[in-house]
């Protein structure tokens, strides 16, 4: 033994065991209910969009790492897979393959690697990809296939407006919204935002495994509810009829682009809720969750700078 070399390193000598990889794949597991529901509701269209989006993101990341950066390949950490899944969740199920691929390249290339890769990006890559597509292809990005009836069709799916879209055009008053239907996914919308129940299941899993904390989702949902109530809209309509749940549970909680402290997270969540409702009520778009998250992503460094944790034993400045 005496001649064996001992390993020397600084403390601590044990580690939690939680890794980027385990957390990323945890998010993938949390997405499974919503993914399963989208496959059930949209059938072949959902399958094509999800598959193309995931493969597109992973391939983009691979090509950039391999040929542009010429660095280490980190595909297996699952972060590109998540970006692909989240992007797909935010797309309609009848989106042509080539548009999905453009979204992937923008999400990974512009959203992530233009800033320096994992951990460096300012904006949520999946949302950046989605918003890029929404602005560039408004026609295709806002024709929503109807659920259940389009399981066997892809590009030729019959479409209809979302609840929020109808409300924007005053074709539907909030009081007539079928809330239970919205909660169980009986509404038009992008792939992943349909079924509130499936998203909340995923969210519960993330909370139980402590992959996310409650601060961001709860503050977003509570703010949207309060804002709606003040504006005379049934809070449940606001929460269930659009992308609030998907945004609050999966999009805004992205580690890289959200604040570091709990109080910062609450401010960030409240502001996302406020901006979402402002866009919905007075903006040109029927839905504003994506924009709200992107705007607050931009504020995250500022929040981190000013909403720092209180130090133990901090002396009060007189």
């Amino acid at each position: 033994m005496s001649n064996r070399r001992l390993i020397v390193s600084g403390s601590p000598h044990i580690h939690t065991g939680s890794s980027v990889k385990s957390r990323m794949w945890g998010v993938v597991i949390a997405l499974l209910p919503a993914l399963a529901f989208s496959l059930y509701a949209f059938g072949i269209g959902a399958l094509v969009v999800i598959a193309v989006s995931v493969l597109g993101c992973v391939m983009t990341e691979y090509l950039i790492q391999r040929y542009l950066i010429k660095g280490e390949l980190t595909i297996t950490n699952g972060s590109a897979v998540i970006t692909g899944l989240l992007l797909a969740m935010n797309l309609p199920s009848n989106l042509p393959v080539w548009i999905v691929l453009i979204g992937c390249v923008v999400a990974i290339g512009l959203g992530k690697y233009a800033f320096g890769g994992l951990g460096q990006n300012i904006f949520n890559p999946a949302i950046l990809g989605r918003v890029f597509l929404l602005i560039s292809f408004p026609q295709q990005m806002t024709s929503w296939p109807l659920p259940m009836v389009n399981r066997a069709s892809y590009l030729d799916a019959t479409t209809g407006a979302t609840i929020l879209g109808k409300m924007k055009l005053n074709e539907l008053v909030p009081d007539n919204v079928d809330l239970m239907g919205a909660f169980m996914g009986q509404m038009g919308g992008s792939l992943g935002e349909m079924c509130g129940l499936a998203i909340l299941l995923g969210g519960a899993y993330l909370l139980v495994r402590r992959i996310i904390s409650w601060h961001i989702p709860v503050s977003i949902i509570a703010t949207v509810a309060l804002f709606s109530w003040c504006a005379g809209i049934n809070p449940l309509v606001s929460i269930l009829s659009g992308g609030v749940l998907l945004g609050a549970v999966f999009m805004a909680t992205d580690y890289v682009t959200s604040p570091m402290t709990h109080k910062g997270m609450v401010l960030y969540g409240v502001m996302i809720g406020v901006i979402t409702m402002i866009i919905r009520l007075w903006g040109a778009y029927p839905e504003g969750v994506s924009f709200a998250i992107l705007i607050m992503n931009g504020f995250t460094p500022l929040i981190n700078k000013y909403m720092r944790p209180r130090q133990f034993g901090e002396r009060k400045v007189k």
């Binding site: 033994m1 005496s2 064996r4 001992l6 390993i7 020397v8 390193s9 600084g10 403390s11 601590p12 000598h13 044990i14 580690h15 939690t16 939680s18 890794s19 980027v20 385990s22 957390r23 980190t74 950490n77 890769g117 994992l118 951990g119 460096q120 904390s213 580690y255 890289v256 682009t257 959200s258 604040p259 570091m260 402290t261 709990h262 720092r308 944790p309 209180r310 130090q311 133990f312 034993g313 901090e314 002396r315």
Partner: protein, 445 residues
């Protein structure tokens, strides 16, 4: 509702493999190696020559200044050599080697220390007790090894109103304090009383985490009828044994940045230290032995041992069944704050609360990944710091900014690096940054 500190902290796996084990005496070796730097502060000054004959408990190196401590020989024998010896961490340090002859062993077996009588103890003034503690070379035995005498003498104008005895033992694997609280409750309580007398404090609280229910019950049983001393069960959370965290948990008060515990009226001593004070005052025995845990996932018979200081670590590990074949790393102290050693030929010193053997496959760090800004380190930090930011600030040499971000308040508990999913060496860099900022501040003043 059990008390604990509020900010940060983590739940670490306990691995208290030796919680039920009694304290086993390891006999004094025939040859001891005694180093002169077993405490925080100035190295003690050698007081013997080669060839001198020394008697068990005799001072062989004297404290050099206020923040220093006397060193005593744990055995009778002849001074063989004086010179540099490599410590367990690989640095050379002044040491004395003492070898016992058969007569010396015989002498030690027949002659013990002569305990003080009740009358003698009653007659001791607070100053007397402080002097006895200083003479006996007692230092903080929780691991920090700060000379105890200094802590018993508050700066002028400061007054303590509570004595907190640290029995939290929040480090995984370590059970030496636990075993002591089970085996020697009366002695600990007696030691606590001496400290109370020395400092004029009339309230003492022994803080113990509630994963040691048996120790809490045992102390409570032996405290029946005592006034002024109580046991406080604490909710198990790391780093509860940190001085500032323990004060917060017990009193609800926060020690201000850069200030001493006495500023909120608290003095903190480890249970092991209280026990050492008992032995010094009552038994007239200087600090020549201590209790430590030898443990590890693959250690054959892990246990708690009473070891004479100067005993080679090798001998100590052999008492627990030897080194498992797959050992990759050996730590003095617990796995959260302990230090990895390079050699087991080095001697046991005052600050060794445990020897933890880590298997090869868990000894290496896994690959470091980029920071994903998850905030786990911020959530875990019990001092309210932002480790994710301190690391790049250190890398970039932004010393002023580091200071503004409170790097000097870091207690090096390791919660940040433990929690980091990207396995970033946060604490390595924070330590470096802390060192550099302290250096900068010294130059400024």
């Amino acid at each position: 509702m059990l008390k604990t500190f509020k900010k940060g902290g983590i739940h670490v796996p306990e691995y208290k493999l030796t919680a039920e084990k009694p304290i086993v005496d390891i006999p004094a070796p025939r040859e001891v190696v005694v180093t002169f730097s077993q405490h925080i502060g100035a190295m003690a000054v050698c007081d013997v020559k080669p060839g001198d004959h020394v008697v068990k408990g005799q001072i062989i190196a004297k404290a050099n200044g206020v923040v220093s401590a006397n060193i005593h020989t744990p055995i009778s024998g002849k001074v063989k050599t004086i010179g540099k010896w490599k410590t367990a961490f690989g640095y050379p340090c002044d040491t004395v080697t003492i070898v016992a002859s058969d007569e010396d062993v015989q002498y030690d077996a027949e002659h013990g220390f002569e305990p003080r009588t009740e009358e003698e103890i009653k007659a001791l003034t607070p100053e007397d007790i402080k002097e006895i503690v200083a003479d006996a070379g007692v230092v903080g035995l929780g691991g920090a090894t700060f000379p105890t005498k200094v802590k018993l003498c508050p700066p002028p104008g400061m007054h303590a109103d509570i004595l907190i005895i640290n029995g939290a033992e929040c480090e995984p694997f370590l059970t030496n304090d636990h075993a002591l609280m089970l085996a020697c409750p009366d002695e600990i309580i007696e030691g606590v009383k001496y400290i109370m007398r020395a400092t004029g404090v009339n309230r003492a609280v022994i803080g113990v985490e509630d994963n040691k229910r048996d120790a809490i019950c045992n102390l409570e049983k032996h405290l029946e009828g005592e006034s002024g001393i109580s046991v406080m069960p604490l909710k198990t959370k790391y780093p509860q044994g940190g001085e500032k965290q323990l004060i917060k948990a017990v009193t609800g008060k926060e020690v201000p940045n850069g200030a001493l515990p006495i500023s909120v009226g608290a003095i903190v001593q480890n249970v092991g230290t209280a026990y050492a004070i008992y032995r010094a005052v009552k038994l007239r025995e200087p600090l020549i032995s201590r209790i430590l845990t030898v443990s590890g996932k693959h250690v054959q018979s892990p246990g708690n041992f009473r070891v004479f200081l100067g005993t080679p670590l090798k001998t100590v590990i052999e008492a627990a069944g030897g080194i498992p074949e797959d050992t990759g790393k050996i730590i003095l102290g617990g796995p959260m704050m302990g230090k990895a050693i390079v050699s087991i030929d080095a001697p046991t010193i005052k600050g060794v609360s445990g020897v933890v053997l880590i298997p090869e496959d868990e000894a290496r760090r896994t690959q470091e990944n980029p920071c994903i800004r998850c905030g786990a380190c911020v959530e875990a930090c019990p001092m309210g710091l932002e480790p994710y930011m301190l690391m790049p600030l250190t890398e970039n040499g932004e010393w002023e900014m580091l200071n503004e971000h409170g790097v000097r308040n870091c207690i090096e508990c390791g919660c940040c690096a433990y929690s980091c999913p990207s396995n970033r060496p946060l604490l390595d860099f924070i330590r470096l940054g802390k060192f550099k900022v302290n250096e900068m501040m010294r130059k400024k003043s």
